[in-house]
């Protein structure tokens, strides 16, 4: 049985991807780590771990703790800063082939625009993802919880560079739709949904939090329904493409996000417990699209039927 030709290309605003399977920031190192386990060239996009203007040591361990079907983390944006990234990590990433979407986090709106300007035009940088949603950083402004500040950061970055811009949002808000609309108004090419859900774990016998940082971000299969809900709600409210993130670990998970309204997906925590999962999903994608009679990804995006009983 031969599958009819299926096109996997997707368009996220000004960013074109060979396929919709990306790997999420902070869950794939700087890609070099995975060279022995994943055929990196085949991925649709790679998001290296978020970088900041200055080096950050990150939070004290324990930085992760497992919970039921999930993982709590408080890594704290441990990284060597933007200059070390450009000098030592970007050259390798640039040679891999897939779109390299550089994830940046600033403490202020100015820091976001400075970092965007610095990365603009560098060989290998295909787009930026604005991490305005990390729950582990104190001292910074939570741009992602407020529509006005979210819009402002996206606008500033758009003005500072010519790169496509993805805004990555936090689910830890009362109304994610209003923040997403603000990101779209600010000029985002696409919206990434979601970052981790704020949570905690307690060791009652010692009356201690299990995480060094007390609170952390929950990821993994446990948060998939929350992420699907966010994609579904936002898809009905904005016109720009969405990228689904949260608990994706199989082709079924991936298809659920596409049907709910995502144009592409990012694989996160699943790479920790199944290192080759991103390519397994990619291999299964043409067949799954064919099952729905689709010949390209866009044919299934947002086709969820909520009317018919």
């Amino acid at each position: 049985m031969s599958t009819p030709a299926v096109s996997l290309e997707v368009q996220l605003g000004r960013l074109r991807l060979a396929n919709p399977i990306m790997v999420a920031s902070g869950t794939f190192g700087y890609a070099r780590e995975m060279a022995g386990l994943v055929d990196l060239a085949r991925l649709g996009g790679i998001l290296p771990k978020t970088i900041t203007q200055e080096p950050r040591q990150g939070n004290p361990p324990p930085r992760t703790v497992e919970t039921t079907a999930g993982l709590l983390n408080s890594i704290g944006l441990d990284n060597d800063g933007i200059e070390a990234f450009i000098e030592r990590l970007l050259p390798y990433l640039a040679g891999l082939g897939p779109a390299i979407v550089v994830s940046i986090a600033g403490r202020t709106a100015d820091e976001f625009t400075q970092m965007a300007a610095r990365l603009d035009g560098l060989p290998g940088v295909a787009a930026l993802e604005l991490n305005i949603s990390c729950p582990n950083v104190s001292g910074g402004v939570d741009f992602g919880v407020n529509p006005t500040s979210c819009c402002g950061v996206v606008e500033g970055v758009r003005r500072a560079c010519s790169l496509p811009v993805l805004a990555k949002l936090t689910p830890n808000v009362t109304d994610i739709v209003s923040v997403a609309k603000a990101a779209a108004d600010g000029g985002a090419d696409a919206i990434s949904l979601i970052n981790t859900c704020l949570g905690m774990a307690v060791d009652w016998r010692h009356r201690k939090p299990r995480l060094g940082n007390v609170l952390g971000g929950l990821s993994g299969p446990a948060i998939k329904p929350i992420a699907l809900r966010a994609v579904y709600q936002v898809a009905r409210a904005v016109d720009i493409p969405l990228i689904g993130i949260g608990g994706i670990a199989s082709i079924d998970d991936t298809m659920e996000f596409l049907v709910a309204g995502a144009t592409a997906v990012q694989i996160g925590t699943a790479s920790f417990y199944r290192p080759g999962v991103s390519i397994e999903i990619l291999d299964a994608l043409p067949d799954a699209l064919t099952q729905l009679g689709a010949t390209r990804v866009a044919d299934v995006v947002g086709t969820l039927d909520v009317e018919t009983k």
């Binding site: 902070g26 869950t27 794939f28 190192g29 700087y30 070099r32 780590e33 995975m34 060279a35 022995g36 386990l37 771990k49 040591q57 990150g58 361990p61 324990p62 930085r63 992760t64 497992e66 039921t68 079907a69 999930g70 993982l71 983390n73 890594i75 441990d78 990284n79 060597d80 070390a84 990234f85 030592r88 990590l89 993994g220 299969p221 925590t269 790479s271 920790f272 417990y273 199944r274 290192p275 080759g276």
Partner: protein
């Protein structure tokens, strides 16, 4: 050491897949040995490296668990075909693993980590607390010239003598002592309750072992609970013997992509930074570790 965001020991040799349990037997109290058929890992692993093991088809527990490779099974026809992992039942995954019968499947990826560097030592002194003994059998077999590991098999300077100082809570927790004796290792025991060997901390066995070999080139290698590794590092410094420790930092991925397994490691200038033990370790020079 290289800069923080790169490591010479990424999982480039690692294989990922489903392995079959060939046998799963109890060795001591709460302690089991599982034998896995996985030629890819068996052929590549060197002493001190570890694998990540995970129960298939279950999201609870979700993550793999890091476990040292205890031994490599090989025969004339197939070469290296399997690995032994010795584990202590402490929680969810190890508890379920203990209940799995031969024929059951496990997900695995490895070999991972740097392993023990092939440094010269006429007298190699292994110091283990509890289940920390697991990475030492292969190291001893290699140092005594009985086995070679890795693909291609790595060359290591040979030792004239290997002493194994092994401490446990009590006699019934001691596992694999005969394996070490069969390999030609001089085993010295210590237990917290005096039920076997010396009624003392294992660290008290180090100085007598060191003094025994006269003016030889010595090296201490240690694995166990953090306080015990710290005490061993201090003892090694006092005795003027170089020492490496293998850290047992909890890990979420084992392959360098999550940044959760960090330990405080000194650089050449004496400042410390958080480093990933799964790709830059688990073996470090004791003097570089900030306990």
């Amino acid at each position: 050491m290289t800069d923080k965001q790169s490591s010479p020991t990424y999982a480039d040799q690692a294989w990922q897949g489903v392995t079959t349990i060939v046998e799963n037997v109890q060795l001591a109290r709460d302690t089991y040995r599982v034998r896995l058929r996985c030629p890819e890992i068996a052929q590549a692993v060197v002493p001190g490296q570890f694998v990540m093991l995970r129960l298939p088809g279950s999201n609870d527990p979700l993550l793999g668990r890091p476990l040292a490779v205890y031994d490599v099974l090989a025969d004339k026809a197939d070469g290296a075909w399997g690995i032994d992992v010795v584990y202590l039942v402490v929680g969810q995954m190890t508890g379920r693993l203990a209940g799995l019968a031969a024929g059951s499947l496990l997900e695995a990826w490895g070999p991972l980590g740097n392993g023990f560097p092939p440094l010269p030592a006429e007298h190699l002194i292994l110091v283990a607390g509890g289940i920390g003994q697991t990475p030492f059998l292969m190291l001893a077999e290699e140092a005594l010239g009985r086995r070679r590991f890795g693909n291609p098999p790595r060359k290591t300077p040979l030792a004239d003598r290997v002493t194994f100082c092994y401490g446990a809570r009590s006699k019934d927790y001691l596992a694999g002592v005969e394996d070490f004796q069969r390999a030609g290792v001089d085993v010295r025991l210590a237990t917290d309750d005096g039920s076997a060997g010396h009624h003392s901390l294992v660290t008290e066995l180090i100085a007598p072992a060191v003094e025994q070999s006269g003016p030889a080139v010595r090296r201490i290698v240690c694995c166990g609970p953090e306080a015990m590794m710290e005490a061993t590092a201090a003892e090694a410094r006092r005795l003027g013997v170089p020492c490496q420790v293998s850290l047992e930092t909890p890990m979420a991925c084992g392959i360098g992509i999550c940044f959760s397994c960090v330990a405080r490691i000194r650089d050449a200038s004496g400042n410390w930074d958080y480093r990933r033990t799964c790709v830059e370790g688990p073996v470090f020079d004791a003097d570089d570790v900030v306990f």
